[in-house]
Structures are given as C-alpha cells and as structure tokens.
C-alpha cells in the first residue's frame, strides 16, 4: 500500500528542474507510453507509466532503488505516443542523471552496471576526443564480469579484428584539450 506520509512531495519539482525532466507533471497516467514500449513487450517488470507515476507521487526511494529506468533503450516510442508531451525518454535521462549524481556523492549504490560503462565511455572521449569502442567494451566486461565475461566476447572480437574493424591504437584528435576543457568547465568528474 502507498502511504501519503511516506511520499516526497518535492521530488517532482526536483525532477522537473533537471534537463529533460521539464514536462513530468503533464502526465495524466493514460498508459500510452507503455503500449508499444519494446522493453515492456519482453520484460513485464519494465513500465514507463509506472516510473513517471512514481516520480510524480514522490516515491523517491522505491523509484531510485528499483533501477528499472536503466532498462530504457531510448527508442522514443513512448515520447512519440504521449498525448501530453511528457517527453518520457528525456525524463528517464533526468532520473538517470540524478541517480548518477547521488551515487557519486555516496548516497546510493547503483547495482546496474550500465553507469560503469557510460563512465568508461565518456572517459575515453575525455582522453582522446573520440571513443575507442572496443577498448571500452573490453575494459567494461573485464571489470564487471571478470576474465570469463571478457572471454565470452573473444570469438566475436577476434573475427572483427581479422576484418580490420578493431584499430590497435585509439584515435586521438588535435583538439582533445578543448574536449577535456568542456568536461572540466562543466564540472564533470
């Protein structure tokens, strides 16, 4: 049962102030977003309507701890079908941003490993200006799934290497310092 005293009435305002979260409160709970959501079609645990509803009600802890929003594939089907222009995909980005910030502050722990990948990905951009995709992927697999996880990707990796699809050295751009400064000035660690 949902108890009003456990709800956080300010959460919807916090979320609405995030980039992408602006239209959260327009939602009238119609379920249009959940119809046609590809992830919801194969995973009954995922429901964008429920995520938006929990956000509006202020079920902050349950929502952040559920981590279900990390399953969103950003396909924008819900965004396209929402009659209220809630911009659900974008709201989910805002939620992810909030969760990452809280995790960096040490307030929460994120079990989903996607943010680890995202961080390695943007670190590669920070260092080189471009992403060394294969290297980031291998590093991520090794960190989250160990040698076994990395080896599971080996045959595909080898095949790709043979076809000349995996460069040995990462590409670096001349303006990589300019890119690094974007990170620094925006305060992104």
């Amino acid at each position: 049962m949902i108890k009003a005293k456990n709800l956080d009435p300010n959460f919807k305002y916090q979320l609405s102030r995030e980039l992408g979260g602006e239209n959260l409160e327009y939602c009238f709970n119609c379920t249009g977003c959940a119809c046609g959501c590809p992830v919801a079609e194969v995973d009954p645990d995922f429901n964008p309507r429920k995520i938006i509803r929990m956000g509006i009600l202020g079920m902050t802890k349950e929502l952040i701890e559920s981590e279900s929003f990390w399953k969103c594939v950003s396909c924008y089907t819900c965004f396209a079908r929402c009659p209220q222009d809630v911009r659900i995909t974008e709201v989910l980005y805002a939620l992810k941003n909030m969760a990452v910030r809280e995790a960096l502050k040490g307030n929460i722990e994120i079990e989903t490993t996607k943010p680890i990948f995202d961080k390695m990905f943007i670190d590669s951009i920070k260092d080189n200006g471009r992403v060394a995709e294969a290297m980031v992927f291998a590093k991520y697999k090794l960190k989250t799934e160990g040698i076994k996880g990395l080896m599971e990707q080996f045959s595909m990796g080898l095949e790709m290497f043979k076809k000349g699809k995996i460069p040995i050295l990462p590409e670096k751009i001349k303006g990589k310092k300019q890119v690094k400064r974007i990170f620094e000035k925006a305060g992104i660690k």
């Binding site: 992408g20 089907t77 943007i122 699809k165 995996i166 460069p167 303006g175 300019q178 992104i188």
Partner: protein
C-alpha cells in the same frame, strides 16, 4: 553538392563498411563529402544517461566546427544524427542553454549549423530520379526488408523527414534500386541499442524478433541505416542463433552497400566482406559472379 561529413567513431572502426560504402555511393551521385576536420565523439547514448549537459556540449563543438565551414552536416549514423540535431535544437531554442554551452567551449557556436541524416540527403536532396539514373544493375532477386531503427524517425521534432510510425523513404529508395521491398512490421521497433552491453539477455530478445520477423515475411536480407542497429542485427546474429538454437543466416547490409551494388560499384569498395554474416549470396545474385571459397583459392595458389 557539397556537405561536411561527420562519420562518427564507429564508422572509423567497427563499421568501416558503412564509411566505405557511403563515400563510394556519394562519389557516384556527385555528392562531395568533406570530412569535418578534427570532429569529436557526439557522446552517443551513454553521455545522456550520465550527464545531460555534457550530451549537449559535446555535439556543440562539432556544430561550431561545421558552422565555420558553412556547409550542411551529413551524418550517416542514427545516434550521431540524433545527438547533433538534438543539441542543435536545444541550443537554438534556449538562449540560456546556448550561453551555458558557449561558456564551456573554446570555439563559439552561434546556432546556424544544419544537420541532416545521409538517407534524408539522398532521398530528399539528391532525389530518387537521380538515383534511378545511376543504376546499372537493378537488384532483381533481392527480397529486402527496410529496417529504419529509432532515432532516424523519432522524435519528430528532431527527425523531421519521414513518418515516425510507418516511414517510407528507405522503402522507396530500395524500390528505386529494383529490389523487392517486403512489408515489415518491425521497421521502427528498437533493436535493443546499447542494452546489449549490460543486459544481453534482454537485448537479444528485441534483436531476435526483428530478425525472425524478417525471415517470416520472406526476406533474404535486411537494409539498415545505423551502425548500432547493424552491430546488433549482424555482429550478434550468430550468438543469438546459438543461444536460442535458431537458424537465421540473414545478411544485414547498410542501405549504402545495397545502393552501391545497384550502381555497379565493386563489392570490395563497399566493404561487403566486412559484414559479419556473409553477404556472398547477395553479391552473387546481383553481380552474377560466384565467390571462390577461400580454401579452394589457397590450394589453387599454393605450391
């Protein structure tokens, strides 16, 4: 016709065949592509999840570089196109965001760049009539399903050139090339995108149903417009086959590779041997030239 060209990171690495076929086809069509000098990664989808502002600022540097060249920016990757066009729209719509972005950049951006997807350029700027004139080998025997993916058609405030539920531009292009284009209910259903990185199980279910539907409607190949879709449908296909004990064997080609075949461009120039699911049968059926198996070639050339 001259454009700035933004290949994006994958076209320089794991999806080289898209870069090769894009360049080859554009040359034939008289489109001059000038690679944007010193471009940086657009942030892909990971940056948006990690830090929204970064996902506007990273593409903005590319927009600033493109603005200086005063040419439209052509992006063949759905995700790069989305990120560049989205950052562009957000910056144009908000003076506040424009200022914040310019505050973190060394090169100023005034908001005058224009970003177009390569498919949009070929269908709507070059035009299908010009494409038709360039065909030397109509694609008889090719039964293809057009797979658009997501970010090339959605959201419509960013991807503005086709219908978001039942797009037609790729259908019409493939028909112009002489291929049999099959009705495809999965044409805009997500392939799982980057979910494959951390949740293969879930992502594979999304990818598998696209490939299975393609087989069900009788396709002998899939046409795609995005390197991420291609990776999921092509590179992971054999893994999906063994995991679910199904036989798919469905070649997945970039629309530019298919165009190149119809224009009589040499398959090697289109990177057709770089696709993970062999494309030999498709090439054979179009060119009429049978590929000599590797083993036979070695024996013949040995001693």
């Amino acid at each position: 016709m001259k454009y700035s060209y933004y290949p994006g990171c994958t076209l320089h690495a794991s999806t080289k065949e898209y870069d090769m076929s894009t360049r080859a086809v554009c040359e034939k069509l008289g489109i001059e592509l000038v690679e944007l000098e010193d471009w940086n990664c657009c942030g892909a989808l990971g940056a948006f999840s990690y830090n929204y502002f970064l996902s506007v600022a990273l593409p903005a540097r590319n927009l600033a570089l493109a603005e200086r060249k005063n040419l439209k920016l052509a992006a063949p990757c759905n995700a790069c196109f989305h990120n560049l066009a989205k950052a562009n729209k957000l910056i144009k719509d908000s003076e506040d965001l424009k200022k914040r972005v310019n505050d973190v950049m060394d090169i100023p951006y005034n908001g005058t760049a224009e970003v177009r997807h390569l498919l949009d350029i070929i269908v709507n700027e070059v035009g299908l009539e010009t494409v038709a004139k360039s065909i030397t080998r109509p694609l008889k025997g090719l039964r293809v399903v057009p797979y658009y993916g997501c970010l090339i058609v959605r959201p419509t405030e960013i991807a503005r050139f086709d219908d978001q539920e039942n797009p037609q531009s790729l259908d019409n292009l493939l028909k112009t090339l002489g291929a049999e284009v099959l009705p495809f209910p999965m044409k805009v259903k997500c392939c799982g995108a980057s979910l494959v990185v951390n949740d293969e199980e879930l992502a594979f279910q999304l990818t598998k149903r696209i490939l299975e539907t393609a087989k069900d409607v009788g396709a002998n190949c899939v046409a795609v417009t995005c390197p991420l879709c291609h990776t999921n449908l092509d590179a992971y296909q054999s893994k999906i086959e063994s995991k679910y004990n199904v036989t798919l064997g469905l070649p997945v080609l970039y629309f530019t590779q298919i165009m190149g075949l119809a224009m009589g461009i040499e398959p090697k120039k289109l990177g057709l041997e770089k696709n993970m699911v062999p494309t030999d049968k498709i090439v054979e059926s179009v060119t009429g030239v049978k590929k000599v198996p590797q083993l036979v070639k070695m024996k013949a050339g040995g001693k």
